[in-house]
Structures are given as structure tokens and as C-alpha cells.
Symmetry: C3
Subunit: 136 residues, 3 copies
């Protein structure tokens, strides 16, 4: 079995942002020399997400508005008990549960085996992402 | 390490539908000859989901109604910026985030290691699903 | 390839509860002797979740309140069709979709490769959890 582990770091200036990391993952698959296996990519921060969806500016706006409706930002300690710790980001912990922590992707014949229009993002503030590929 | 990759295609006539793919996955595990490993099954379309829950007609109705409440269908470009692209399915991209893209399942002693009442589905319109099993 | 499969059982007295299973997973990685691989941990019941987030009491209260807002408990058969089966837990099936079924975690150099403040939990009533580690 071969494996490759890599850590990626992103700087996103806004409170909520999207970074397309698909080309980086494709490079890592090539570097790993693995032709049959699985790739795990997960956010290393619990207010960030890695997910697969469309890289379309309008959809990103929709995601932001929708997440704000499902789990609104509110720095007060009355709305979110977690903010009693001195943090103001309880909403971001909830948003992350909707968008997910990780994706597991098929590696086949030395490439990422995506369907049409799929992309991987990492939303929300400067964050690190972990990538692990195992296989042969 | 052994591996098997397979693509399944489903035709669901309604806008939202459910297909129980557990028996198909069990067949693939048998064909793979793998007794200890992991199975990844993911939707290849970004408005579809693969998930594990109960294969019960009432629950499927509840899922449909609930997803419609969380992310209502609305073809207008005012409600969803994504629909400015000419599509009308922004809501389906959001629904997919709630239901998830993929499941990873334990393969043990040449069978799928499910708990009681667990089932795998693929909801929303004619779609392809990718299955990869790795192990020994 | 090496692998280890283990089943954990938890008794949580309340309808919704949280158990930090990170130390147990770390023990299993040590016992497996695997230094490079993947760990899958999934709830074996379809009204339970395994997820990675902060082990902070206030946040757990926020999760409970938030899930109750997204998918309220209601034993009636009018609100949830699933309850016509004689069960009263349709809401728990929906909550589980938000929180997720499984986590896949990187195993590197004989330890779990977590980011800061990450923890794994299993919420909702006495339940079993399946753990599988594969690698070398």
C-alpha cells in the first residue's frame, strides 16, 4: 500500500469564502503515484468545511444566504450558549455541520474520478486542510 | 490490495425520488472478493445524494417535505442567484448539502457491515452513482 | 494491508446526549499497529450521528436547540408520516441527516491526525458505533 499525506493552507479574507481546491488535489494524486485508491480531504478547523458542489458565483451567494438563514450569525450569549466562552462563532460551528467536514473521493487510473461539474471547496476564514491518499 | 470500481445508473421519474441500492452494493462486495476493507459510494451529480437511513415510505415523504421547508424550490432569479445561469435547480444544490454526497461503509468478512434498518438511497432525478471498494 | 474492526456501545440516559469517543479511537489506533491509513467511525443506528466538533458544553446546548428548530420533535402522525409506523422518532431521522452518519479520519505515524479542538461525538440515546481502521 502506498500513501501520501499533505497539508494545505488557505487565506480567505472574508468571514465566509470559497476556495476551489480541485486542481491542488489532482496534483497531489499525480505526485502520489497511486492509481487505485481513496482520497480523504478534510477541514482541520471545526468552523470550516470541505465539500463537493458547483464552482458558480451565484450558487456561492445562495449558500451564504441560506446558511445565514439556517444558522444566523449572532455574537450574543443569549442566542448561543457557546459564545459564553468568549467566542462569537457559535453559528459557524452549526454551519459547518450542514456543509460537512470531509469528502472521500475515488482515485482511479491516476486521476480523481469526478462526475461532471463537481468541485471541492473550503469555506470560511483562513484554514488548513488535510489530504490523505491511500492505495496502490 | 484489491479494488473494484463500478458505476450505477438510475432513472427516477419524479423530481425527487428514492432508490434502495443496498442489494446492488452487496452484490458488488461479493463480486470484489474483498473481505476486509472500505466501500465508498457517492452521487456523481451535485444535485443528488447517497445516504443511509430507513427504507420506509412515510419517512421518505417526511424527507421530501422537510427538505422543501429547509430549501424551497423556486425557479426565480430573485430567490436564488444560481438560477441566473439559466438553471432552475438552485434549491437542489442546497438540499444535497443536507442529505450528503457519499457514504463510506465497512466491508467485513465478505459482507457489508450494516446496523439494523440501515439502507442506502439515491434521491433526485436520473443519476449515476460511483462505487469503489478497496481492501483485501 | 492491516485492518481492525471494533464495536463500541454507549448508554446515554437522555433523549439527546453527547459522548466524546476520541480517547477510545486513539486507543484503537494504538492497538491496530497501523501507522498510515484511514479510520472510519459510523453510527450503527439511523437516529444517531458521529461527528467532529468542539467538546464544549455550551455548544452542545446550541446543537440541541438548533436541531429542535430545524426538525422539531412531534410524536403526531399528522406532522410526520413516519410516525404512522407506531414510532415517534421521525424527527430523529431528520436530525441525523444534519449531523451526519460517519467520520473518516487520517491515521498518520501511529496516531489520529486531528486539527486543534476537534473531537468526535455520538449523539442521541444508547447506541452502537462501528470503527474500522485500514492501512499499514
Amino acid at each position: 500500500m502506498k500513501s501520501l499525506t499533505e497539508y494545505l493552507t488557505f487565506t480567505v479574507p472574508e468571514r465566509v469564502g470559497f476556495v476551489n481546491i480541485t486542481p491542488t488535489l489532482e496534483d497531489l494524486v499525480r505526485r502520489s503515484g497511486i492509481t487505485e485508491g481513496l482520497l480523504l480531504c478534510n477541514a482541520m478547523h471545526i468552523t470550516a468545511s470541505v465539500f463537493v458542489n458547483d464552482d458558480e458565483r451565484g450558487l456561492h451567494e445562495d449558500f451564504k444566504r441560506w446558511l445565514e438563514r439556517l444558522a444566523p450569525f449572532d455574537a450574543s450569549q443569549q442566542t448561543y450558549a457557546h459564545n459564553r466562552t468568549g467566542e462569537d462563532n457559535a453559528d459557524a460551528h452549526l454551519k459547518r455541520q450542514v456543509m460537512g467536514r470531509e469528502v472521500v473521493i475515488v482515485v482511479t487510473a491516476e486521476r480523481l474520478d469526478f462526475g461532471p461539474w463537481e468541485q471541492v471547496f473550503d469555506g470560511r476564514r483562513p484554514k488548513r486542510v488535510r489530504v490523505k491518499i491511500i492505495g496502490e
